[in-house]
Symmetry: C2
Subunit: 157 residues, 2 copies
């Protein structure tokens, strides 16, 4: 069996395990580097009271911990469903080389998940979003950004 | 001092603490419910090797832990910078009532952070994104989604 299909089937297996054990939604993810799985995760939102514990987030955190890095350069993400905006954002911050996904955002909407809605909201202008967003305190906050710019021993990411 | 300014100044203070102690980028966040802070966070990406450890994510996870819930209904998010797509996605999943933000995504780009780039990428069609995305295994994954739909004891979120 082709390696990439094997990795995806593992991600799907994780989604099934999470569903059957009541950990959370039906989502699984594996992170692969140099042909080996270096991180895994399934959705754990409801069992850990953590709305950020999507499969991709859990897998990214697990992989980063295992390789002691906050970057996943040279890695591939295999996820049982197209990443939601939170997870896609996390993937961009981790900077892997490639994403393989199985179900898509419409499939997720079809079984009751907000992925497509959140994509629509993110593309809306700030003033038109359903969660109200109000600017406050920019002058004070800009001072800290200036300090960051001047900091000589910072670790960039 | 008006309460909302007080909460934002605390978020900015957290951003300053994180910067000065070398925990990570210059970002802080507090979550408020019924006029009280129920969760706090500052960016810890580089100090914990966790690319998902943005201030908002840390604060959301902290608040949810403190109130034993995966939802932040009735809460307000005060963040020292406009949330990146990952954090905005997390906020939508947590479903607070309102977001206050200080610096904006252009301010973040100005000091070297990818927020604006990731917003642009999320709005791109999948086939045009800089991280390649390839569909794989949808038929197998759809089976698990069907099981979720039929599951009678699931906790929805």
């Amino acid at each position: 069996m082709e390696k990439k299909i094997e990795f995806m089937l593992r991600a799907i297996e994780l989604s099934k395990n999470g569903l059957e054990s009541g950990k959370g939604g039906p989502f699984g993810c594996v992170i692969v580097k140099d042909g080996k799985i270096i991180g895994e995760g399934n959705n754990q939102v409801t069992s850990t009271n953590d709305p950020t514990a999507h499969a991709e987030m859990v897998a990214i955190r697990n992989a980063c911990k295992n390789i002691n890095s906050f970057q996943l350069e040279g890695c591939e993400v295999y996820t049982s469903c197209e990443p939601c905006p939170m997870c896609l954002g996390a993937i961009y911050w981790a900077r892997p080389d490639k994403i393989y996904f199985a179900n898509n955002r419409s499939d997720a909407a079809e079984i009751g998940f907000d992925d497509a809605f959140i994509y629509d909201e993110i593309e809306e202008k700030i003033e038109n979003r359903q969660i109200q967003m109000e600017p406050l305190g920019r002058m004070e906050a800009l001072e800290i950004f200036k300090q960051w710019k001047l900091k000589t021993d910072k670790i960039e990411y």
